[in-house]
Amino acid sequence: MKILIVGAGEVGYHIAKKLSEEGQDVVLIDKDPVKIRRISENLDVQFAHGSGTSPQVLRDSGIADADMLVAATDSDEVNLISCLLARSLNRHMLKVARVKNEEYLREKELFQKELLGVDLIINPRTMMVETILNLMKIPGASEAVDFVGGKVKLIGFFVTDESPFSGQKLSALRGFEGSALVAAIVRGHQIRIPSGGDTIQPHDLVYMVVRADSLDATLARLNLKAGPVKNVFIVGGGETGLAVARALDGKGLNVRIVDHDGDRCKKLATILEHVMVIRGDGTDRDLLREENAGAADLVISVTGDEESNVFISLLAKGLGARRTITRVSKLSYMPVVSAMGLDTVLNPRMSAVRAILQYIRRGRILSVTPLREEQAEAIEAEALETSEIVRNPLYRVKFPRGAILGAIVRGEEIIIPRGDTAVKPKDRLIIFAMQEVVPKLEKLLTVKLEYFG
């Protein structure tokens, strides 16, 4: 399968990397020869030098026999024109475009078959806003991913010294059977899919699969039942900050938004009804103190400056803010920032990569969500009649080490499996697995990781 990727920025680079690792035929197109040279040292992909808006470059990259085009540059216009060209050069290929501008996104007809024919629109900003709002609903968790339309949630949280989990063997944990399950543990930079003998230590990041209807009870048992978020402090009045503020406007929350630009502040104050707009530098400790950011339940740092965001969140945390969400776009910063003790670090480019990969790898495997820098994945797959996994109670199934069955969806029913649970054909399974065991898992499920099945 041949995939053309326009734009060798961070998004394009990571998609190319993942796909080439999975043995796909990738052509990366970028007009910056320096970038291409640097990447070519790391990646086993083909390169084309030139603009994605040039029909000749696209032809030379072999668009005629390509199966898919991913337009992932930072420019909406380049992405849209690439898709338009692709449509005329190869009628049958799938097209994925990264689009940021809300004005374009509002014009739904633009993307339909007759005009651009874009099969998937990736808008990192909207995805980011959704993630932030989702996280606000679960105040104790630092990550939250929805499965099966929100009926199953994956929550990630840091284990504190006081947590009932701390120092416990997983097999010794009682009371979660049937409602929640530990799916992964991150210690330092390492992620592991646990077995019963593993022990949870303080400062671990634990991922748990929880049935949505028992979320409250589970959070309470975990001492994560934090009070609702009432005081929100947004630093950075860019498009993301504004979108979050708008979503929270008029919900009875005390929301403040800080920006250093006077004109921008005026615009924000005009658009927002009940959100207080504060003009000032978010990295100014005195301003944060004066506006009592330390009393905030949630500080969201989304300024245009990566380093400032990290610094602001650390400042706010130091002043006593309950929780912080930090936007860091540079993927190379992620491991360092994660180790700094920030609650939630969101990376819009990473979300874009995830969404594109999920789309590309659809098939029998229904969806894949990469966890923690891609070391592990959450896979949604269907249990087939022919599979070994079907009909036997789970304790008799030879599940590969490094993989765990997190949830079973049977029609409307959600089952968090126990040792004596049996999988039936046509069940949808949510499995968490380390990357290296995915092939073993495929064998077990008798599903090849097919593409475009």
Binding site: K266, A269, T270, M276, V277, I278, R279, E290, E291
Partner: protein
């Protein structure tokens, strides 16, 4: 200044007034009154004055109107109309003195409704008709003034409405006035016809129905009865009048939008909501105050409270009850209504809902800024930010309004008037309401005031009607220098 053009346009105004004076003369003929001759004479004299002015001003070559010319025409027009229309009163002998005639005619054209007559029912119908017609014509002037001219001149924060005006031309004063006038006068005439029909339907005689409609739509308040609307003692008539007073107190640009089926923008209008809210809240407050004290039944208290509040808040000035017998709270509420006034862009007077709304919002945000010194606060009207220049203009208007009020009260009390009369006469005239409290209460008249006091009030009526700024600029030496 383009003096020739100003004189020419004012001569047209005088001619129109002369023509309209023929109407009361015809009414007089119809009823076989002896004053018909005097009314025709007044019309003729006015016509001659108009023609003389036109001849003297010649044919103005330059048709360009500057901001300053606009102000001169507005103020000059109202003063001139007030002076010319003393003629019917003086020639018929209805009012013998010039000061009283001037008071009555300025009160008419500014749609105030304060009267020097103790007994109006004795007056010939021709004179009564002219009294009402002068308010109706004044109302036409006010609509154009407040929706087309003031927003353009940027006076008193009304530049906010610059874009609201139903006119295709935004940047030129002259086409704007004529286009807007045509559209809005249609609305005005339509509402007038509707009210005449509804009042007739309630059994009011045609003459009374026309006269009262002519003084309801411009929120004037002159009545053909000594007891005002109370003379009919009909709940139906009172309800019709309340509804039309409230309608007249609404921005006429909104009426125009309503007629074009644009309900959305009316529903979203922030000012109308506050206007109706203030009306509802004050009616409830006064009703609660009256119930059990002045009136024994709640419906009765509601009936009189709502009429009086509607009448004073919209600055019309009809009465159905002697509110001087009401408890102090209700009287104070009515006094405050004289300051509040109705919506901007209506025929009503006072400070106006829009300005009050902006002032309250601005003051609130200033308090917020004490707690959050870095907060960026923007005064908003609906979804749009109100510019600093508008706010400055509104604050300026407010200060001038209160300043002139205080000065007026000082003058009135220096003339020997009692406390209640002094504070209410200036409020009612500056707000273009009509009746006041004390010696000029709902059952009294302004005839007994000292001569100088009448001139103070005449000045107040003009200042209030012309949004203060347009009159005060004439006092600036700079205005006269080119």
């Amino acid at each position: 200044m383009n003096g020739r053009l100003i004189a020419h346009l004012l001569s047209v105004l005088v001619l129109v007034l002369g023509l309209s004076m023929v109407l009361p003369a015809l009414v007089s003929v119809w009823y076989g009154e002896s004053c018909a001759r005097a009314l025709f004479l007044a019309a003729g004299l006015t016509g001659i004055i108009g023609l003389a002015m036109m001849a003297l001003s010649g044919r103005p070559a330059d048709r360009y109107l500057s901001h300053r010319d606009g102000v001169a025409i507005v103020t000059g027009g109202w003063v001139l109309a007030g002076l010319v229309s003393t003629l019917p009163y003086l020639l018929t002998g209805a009012i013998p003195g010039f000061t009283d005639a001037c008071f009555e005619s300025i009160s008419g054209f500014t749609t105030t409704g304060s009267s020097i007559f103790a007994e109006v029912e004795r007056l010939p119908r021709g004179v009564l008709f002219w009294r009402s017609l002068s308010q109706w014509l004044g109302g036409m002037g006010i609509i154009v003034l407040s929706i087309a001219i003031l927003p353009f001149l940027g006076i008193g924060g009304m530049q906010l409405y610059k874009a609201e005006t139903p006119s295709p031309v935004v940047d030129k004063l002259t086409p704007r006035i004529s286009d807007t006038a045509k559209v809005l006068w249609k609305v005005y005439v339509l509402l007038t016809l509707a009210q005449i029909l509804l009042l007739r339907f309630g059994g009011m005689p045609l003459f009374d129905a026309v006269c009262h409609t002519f003084t309801t739509m411009p929120t004037g308040g002159f009545s053909t009865k000594n007891a005002s609307i109370a003379a009919y003692n009909s709940l139906y008539i009172e309800i019709v009048v309340i509804v039309f007073m409230i309608l007249a107190g609404m921005n006429f640009a909104l009426h125009y939008k309503l007629l074009r089926g644009n309900f959305q923008s009316v529903r979203r209008d922030p000012e109308i909501r506050v206007y109706l809210l203030i009306f509802g809240a004050l009616v409830l407050l006064v009703t609660a105050d009256l119930y059990g004290r002045t009136y024994s039944s709640a419906p009765e208290a509601l009936r009189y409270a709502s009429f009086q509040v509607a009448s004073i808040l919209t600055t019309t000035g009809y009465v159905t009850a002697d509110y001087e017998r009401w408890p102090a709270l209700s009287q104070i509420v009515l006094l405050l209504c004289m300051f509040l006034g109705s919506m901007a862009g209506s025929t009503g007077g006072g400070i106006k809902t829009l300005r009050m709304l902006l002032l309250v919002k601005h003051a609130y945000l200033e308090i917020v800024r004490v707690i959050h010194p870095h907060a960026m606060t923007v005064v908003k009207l609906g979804k749009t930010a109100v510019s600093q220049s508008v706010l400055r203009s509104v604050w300026g208007f407010f200060i001038l309004f209160i300043g002139i009020y205080v000065l007026g009260v000082l003058l009135m009390s220096a003339l020997g008037l009692d406390f209640m009369t002094a504070i209410s006469s200036v409020a009612t005239c500056l707000g273009n309401v009509g009746p006041g409290l004390g010696a000029i209460g709902p059952m009294d008249h302004f005839g007994g005031l000292p001569l100088a006091g009448k001139w103070v009030l005449i000045a107040c009526m003009l200042l209030g009607r012309l949004e203060i700024y347009t009159v005060l600029v004439f006092l600036m030496p700079r205005f006269w220098k080119d």
